[in-house]
């Protein structure tokens, strides 16, 4: 199995969790399978269902991926009043790595392209550029801590051969051809797995 490695850059993205207490909408600090795969599927709809599988993680470059807050008040246009102000957390100056499983569909991706990722798009968030870096074999699996989020059912597709201690969460899985879907159990960052080096946190020396 090979991964296509892309560099993702964006001015600001909001990869949201659910709003908390109608006051605060946190932003996840990774690029989950559901977000990046959904965005790529939307961009390359001709790839077909199941043709694209991708995950991502934020790079640790100094000064990049800053967590910032935007306060805004959604306006109810019917009654012409503003609702309670909502604080939205977002990432600015984003630099991330996206790993796409190489297959017939994904190998046709261009060297550079734009996608729209995450939420708050009407406020200018989410426009991201992807630049192809290299194609690299997944390599021999090793034990380590996962640095991406992906559905449990997709673990094998990414070369994860064993899940030792899962850190669970849920990711949204859209039902094809509808605006609905289900939440599927997923492996989150910090899960102990045996899998490809690229999906794992760097080993501390």
């Amino acid at each position: 199995m090979d991964f296509l490695i892309y560099e993702l850059t964006a001015k600001a993205i909001h990869l949201g969790e659910r709003a908390k207490g109608n006051l605060f909408k946190p932003c996840v600090q990774t690029i989950p399978y559901s977000a990046i795969t959904g965005a790529l599927m939307h961009r390359f709809s001709q790839a077909g269902e199941g043709g694209i599988k991708a995950v991502g993680f934020l790079d640790e470059s100094v000064g990049r991926n800053r967590v910032e807050l935007l306060t805004y008040s959604p306006r109810d246009r019917v009654v012409e009043i503003s609702k309670i102000p909502l604080q939205v957390e977002f990432l600015s100056d984003v630099l991330a790595t996206v790993l796409v499983i190489a297959n017939e569909a994904t190998l046709r991706f261009p060297e550079r392209f734009q996608i729209v990722l995450g939420g708050m798009r009407s406020h200018g968030f989410g426009s991201a550029g992807l630049k192809f870096r290299e194609k690299r074999p997944a390599g021999s699996p090793r034990p380590g801590l996962l640095r991406v989020r992906l559905p449990e059912e997709e673990a094998a597709a990414f070369g994860i051969i064993k899940v030792q201690t899962p850190v669970f969460g849920y990711l949204f899985k859209p039902a094809p051809g509808t605006h609905s879907g289900v939440y599927v159990r997923a492996l989150f960052e910090g899960s102990r797995v045996v899998g490809p080096e690229m999906l794992l946190q760097p080993q501390k020396r």
Binding site: G21, L23, F24
Partner: protein, 599 residues
């Protein structure tokens, strides 16, 4: 009918100045009780220096429990010197106790007579608490690092555990047959059993699934306390250490994980478990081959929307506040707008009546600020630091003591826990004394919210912490480092606590101050005293204000101004602020300090 053997009373002779091996006991022989507990006192050793040895299952298990609870490995003894009858606290060597042992014949007779009434441990302890707290478990030099109280309580736990442990069986017949072969027979049986017996050591880190997003969600901390009380209640004899963040347990089977999961799940709590399987004769707080588990509630493979907005781990089946109002009728009190979709667990936690009455009141005080402060503890760091302190102590007797001699045992951890809890209580009292009860909301024994009138109140809280640390753990303010962690946040009363909480989860520094909207500073606790002394100086307010205001436009410009300090009025203030730089503060930290110090 006599009471069953009370294991905690096996070392009562250590409360006196009599020799532990009964060699000078003859004058008191007529006062010796004839109870199972006294049999434990007589027979819990297996050594030719002692007149008796374990003769049945109970005394055999007591002998085994005594070894597990000892503050040293029975196999590694060598230091010679004068006996130290009082305890030397590694973290507080200045705290010296008087030798409280019973020395007068009438005192010893009275104790034996009382023991003859077959008291419970609680009854006996209430009468001899001072001696239990002052007497070292082992008086040999270098070994006097735990109190007798800690040892006997721990031995009691191990004894009850060994009696009930399904996989560590010793039959009465085995024990009696061994006793027929004398000291050698019992010693051989213990050696064989301790090599056969396997114990699981489990370190559990507590994680909250129900994060505190609204004030009512702070009920999760009440649920956390209930959980800890239930663990200490139902699994009390398996608990070796507990704080609000961590638990250390042991068991002979992994069924304990099921029990923990059953207690944690309804409270919205997940446990991250690190476990190690150890031989009983090598049982120690070191995880040699750790394995990991996370104890979640039952999680479905897929969930239909909507997802619970708090935990995001269950389907949301409740609507807040609609369902709450329908449930409570006219009694329902709901503040704040908006609707939340919640799972049953998060809904039940939010629906509890809040114990935090003051905080609810402050929420209406829109102009105000609060200080959130949490005192955390890291068990693994604690173990390492105690090892270093113990090595230093042993090397004060013999500079060539090898590192492996300074092994940290469970009794030392338990001893620490006793002082840790006292330290937290002391901190609470100091904070209440400084701010007044009306301005302090205690959320957990180690988590407080304080109504603040100025940013400098943060320094007052830290002074309380420092004073308590000086009283209980002065060694942790030295170069050896601290297993205790302080997290302080200065924020508007309406600022979501969740953000602060989330930030605290990732804190690695010993002390971190977050001034929400202004910045943060990190500090090692060894510098805290100097930091507070410097922070106490009156700063020129206009200089601090200028610095803070310039930083709003450009942090680089503010740093330039700070470094050059050309304005006459700023020179002295900035020079004083520069004294913080050797303490490891960055410019960001200095700026945060300046913003707090200006009020």
């Amino acid at each position: 009918m006599p009471r069953d053997l009370v294991p905690e009373l096996h070392d009562v002779l250590k409360l006196t100045t009599l020799k532990h091996n009964f060699s000078d006991f003859d004058p008191y022989r007529s006062f010796a009780p004839s109870t199972p507990t006294w049999r434990g006192v007589l027979q819990h050793h297996c050594n030719k220096e002692f007149p008796a040895y374990p003769s049945d299952r109970d005394t055999f298990l007591l002998h085994a429990a005594d070894g597990l609870a000892a503050n040293f490995s029975r196999h590694a003894q060598s230091i010679q010197g004068e006996a130290e009858w009082t305890v030397h606290r590694l973290w507080n060597p200045r705290r010296v106790c008087d030798d409280e042992r019973l020395s007068r014949p009438d005192q010893i007779r009275e104790m034996l007579e009382f023991l003859g009434t077959d008291p419970s441990f609680a009854e006996f302890y209430s009468r001899y608490e001072r001696v239990f707290r002052a007497r070292s478990e082992d008086a040999r030099p270098g070994m006097n690092i735990t109190t007798l109280e800690t040892h006997v309580r721990l031995a009691g736990r191990f004894y009850r555990f060994l009696r009930q442990a399904s996989t560590l069986a010793v039959t009465d017949e085995e024990a009696r047959t061994a006793a027929d072969h004398g000291v050698q027979g019992v010693g051989d049986l213990l050696k064989r059993k301790c090599q056969e017996w396997r114990l699981h050591l489990l370190h559990c880190r507590v994680r909250l699934l129900t994060n505190p997003f609204r004030a009512r969600d702070l009920n999760i901390f009440a649920a956390l306390q209930e959980f800890l009380a239930e663990v200490n209640g139902t699994l009390g004899d398996n608990v070796l250490f507990s704080s609000t963040e961590e638990l250390l347990l042991y068991s002979d089977t992994l069924d304990v994980l099921t029990s923990l999961r059953q207690l944690a799940a309804p409270k919205g709590i997940v446990l991250e478990v690190c476990r190690d399987l150890q031989r009983a004769d090598m049982f120690s707080p070191n995880f040699r081959k750790p394995e990991f588990d996370i104890l979640y509630p039952v999680l479905d493979a897929s969930l239909a929307p909507p997802l619970c907005e708090i935990c995001q781990m269950k389907q949301a089946t409740r609507v807040w506040p609609d369902d709450y109002m329908a449930l409570k009728g006219a009694e329902a009190e709901v503040s704040g707008g908006g609707r939340d979709l919640l799972c049953e667990t998060c809904f039940s936690i939010r629906s509890r009546p809040s114990q935090l009455q003051k905080l609810a009141h402050w929420d209406e005080w829109a102009a105000g600020n609060v200080i959130w402060i949490r005192f955390g503890l890291d068990f693994f760091r604690l173990r390492t630091i105690l090892g270093k302190l113990y090595l230093d102590y042993l090397r004060s007797f013999d500079p060539h003591t090898p590192e492996e001699k300074a092994s940290v045992r469970f009794s030392l951890i338990a001893e620490f826990q006793h002082d840790y809890e006292s330290c937290l209580a002391d901190m609470r009292n100091r904070i209440i004394q400084k701010f007044g009860g009306e301005r302090v909301e205690q959320i957990l024994p180690d988590l407080f919210c304080i109504q603040a009138q100025a940013g400098t109140d943060a320094f007052v809280v830290l002074r309380c912490f420092l004073d308590s640390m000086n009283g209980f753990f002065p060694a942790f303010l030295g170069d050896v480092g601290s297993p205790l962690k302080v997290s302080l946040a200065y924020a508007g009363v309406k600022h979501p606590f969740f953000e602060i909480w989330r930030h605290w989860q990732a804190q690695e520094d010993e002390l971190e101050i977050v001034a929400v909207g202004h910045g943060r500073l990190q500090l090692e606790l060894r510098h805290l005293e100097k930091f507070l002394r410097l922070a106490d100086h009156p700063f020129r307010q206009s200089a601090l204000h200028n610095l803070a205001e310039i930083s709003r436009v450009s942090q680089q410009l503010a740093e330039l101004r700070f470094r050059s300090a050309e304005e006459k009025g700023e020179r002295e203030t900035f020079a004083r602020l520069k004294e913080f730089l050797p303490l490891g503060l960055t410019f960001d930290g200095i700026l945060t300090l300046a913003k707090l110090a200006r009020g």
